[in-house]
């Protein structure tokens, strides 16, 4: 394959010294050097992640507990989604290498076909990452809870649906006796959930009474949460780190919800706090997957540009498809990085 042709090359395409080190082209060698430097950047990020993780040990989130959702299907599918993302990226790497192979046979139609497939795979990956981020930022239905002894725990279970808020004290918008429920006055189930989580995080729920944005108070009508399990991530005294609590878990969770104290519940993630683990966990998630996602995105753009050149016949009249090979190197590198992110962020 590469590096094994014996055709004579005219002086103009050679390097300044009329030689080609490692019998490779200038562009390809520079691409390799760039990839080594980029690999050092990603290596640095992942090692920094490892450092922080070894700092925290037991309280660090576990991938299969954090990433266990699928679009439309809900929870209970540990790591399936990221595995699917990994698979998509591997397949798009395969289609890319097939485009390179077609280029070596001067098969223009083959190059176009496989590059289009690669670009589609790239868009699928970026889209999947957008869903993953959105899911990570919005968080779970339960959030992270601070128990009565100060222990922090993540929660698994089935969230009981919120039926309605029945207003008992009037505020700016709602009258006494109003029943705020999904399907009435344009209110959706997501709105109820949002109000509920917001109030719980701010400490605006006390003994089953929620204080809404407009200052009105309402009685919460909601089905009970079921199959509750608390996993202690940080000990507050009574419970050891890593303890799984099932008996009385529902009551302990309700106590925190109904405490009226702000900060007992954390939902989702931002750069200051997140429901999954220490602050740095969220920061590393956003930075590492974000930096990688940006690489994928720019890879898709570069692939599109090269595809347009291929369609325009630029490579064919040049007599070789080396440009496809060079963008291919970048694209495979993106896949390579994801293999490591997948292992060290999600698996171990």
């Amino acid at each position: 394959m590469a590096g094994h042709a014996s055709k004579q090359i005219d002086g103009k395409t050679l390097w300044g010294g009329k030689m080609s080190p490692f019998s490779t082209s200038y562009g390809k060698l520079m691409m390799w050097f760039f990839l080594v430097s980029d690999a050092l950047t990603f290596g640095g990020l992942l090692v920094a992640y490892g450092f922080t993780r070894h700092d925290y040990l037991g309280s660090w989130p576990i991938g299969e507990e954090t990433f266990n959702s699928l679009p439309f299907l809900g929870h209970g599918y540990p790591l399936i989604y990221v595995a699917l993302m990994t698979f998509i990226l591997i397949v798009s790497s395969v289609t890319m290498v097939l485009a390179v192979e077609a280029g070596h046979r001067m098969d223009k139609r083959g190059v176009i076909k496989w590059m289009i497939a690669t670009i589609i795979g790239g868009f699928f990956f970026v889209g999947s990452q957008a869903w993953e981020w959105s899911h990570f930022i919005h968080g779970s239905e339960f959030g992270k809870v601070e128990l009565a002894d100060g222990s922090l725990a993540i929660v698994h279970g089935e969230f009981g649906e919120i039926e309605s808020f029945k207003v008992t004290v009037a505020g700016d918008h709602h009258q006494v006796g109003d029943e705020i429920k999904a399907g009435v006055h344009g209110v959706t189930q997501a709105d109820l959930m949002h109000d509920y989580q917001h109030a719980a995080a701010e400490g605006h729920i006390k003994d089953g009474i929620i204080t809404l944005h407009d200052g009105s108070q309402a009685e919460i009508k909601k089905s009970a949460n079921e199959h509750m399990e608390l996993i202690v991530k940080e000990s507050g005294g009574k419970y050891e780190m890593g303890t799984h609590i099932e008996e009385g878990a529902a009551a302990m969770y309700e106590e925190a919800i109904n405490s009226g104290e702000a900060g007992r519940l954390i939902y989702g993630a931002n750069l200051q706090q997140n429901e999954y683990g220490p602050q740095q966990y969220g920061q590393f998630f956003f930075f590492i997957t974000g930096f990688h996602g940006f690489h994928v995105f720019s890879g898709v753009i570069i692939n599109i540009i090269i595809l347009l050149q291929v369609i325009g016949g630029v490579m064919h009249s040049r007599g070789h498809y080396e440009m496809v090979e060079k963008t291919g190197l970048y694209w495979h590198f993106v896949d390579l990085v994801w293999v490591f992110v997948f292992t060290f962020f999600y698996l171990v």
Binding site: A5, I80, V94, V339, T343
Partner: protein, 122 residues
């Protein structure tokens, strides 16, 4: 002008239809391999909980499988296996030396810092 000082040059890395069939077969074989490794990783991750007795074994097999995947991607998909030996070593050896050093020093340091914090909190 005829030159005899240049023997090989990758710009003209063309191959025939027959060679293409062989190369494509290799590509699909590697695809299958990478898919199987990923599936095994997910299955192991879902079955064996972190902190259980078998976990250290699983963790190390994850790392080995990752390096295996990375090796196939770099050597086959990125064609580094087909490049000159010199180029291969220029790229891989400095990177590995530096990364192994960095991994060792920072993970070790991370554990030490974690212990120091735990001690300070008591």
């Amino acid at each position: 002008m005829e030159r005899d000082d240049i023997i090989e040059y990758s710009l003209d890395a063309h191959h025939s239809e027959e060679a293409g069939v062989k190369i494509r077969r290799k590509i699909w074989f590697v695809t299958l391999l990478l898919t199987i490794i990923t599936a095994v990783e997910v299955a192991l991750g879902a079955m064996i909980k972190q902190g259980s007795g078998a976990w250290p074994f699983v963790k190390w097999s994850f790392i080995i499988m990752t390096l295996l995947k990375a090796g196939y991607i770099v050597m086959v998909f990125m064609h580094l296996g087909d490049e000159r030996k010199g180029l291969r070593y220029v790229i891989l050896i400095p990177y590995f030396i530096f990364m192994l050093y960095l991994i060792f020093i920072l993970l070790w340091e991370g554990l030490a810092v974690g212990e120091a914090w735990a001690g300070a909190a008591v």
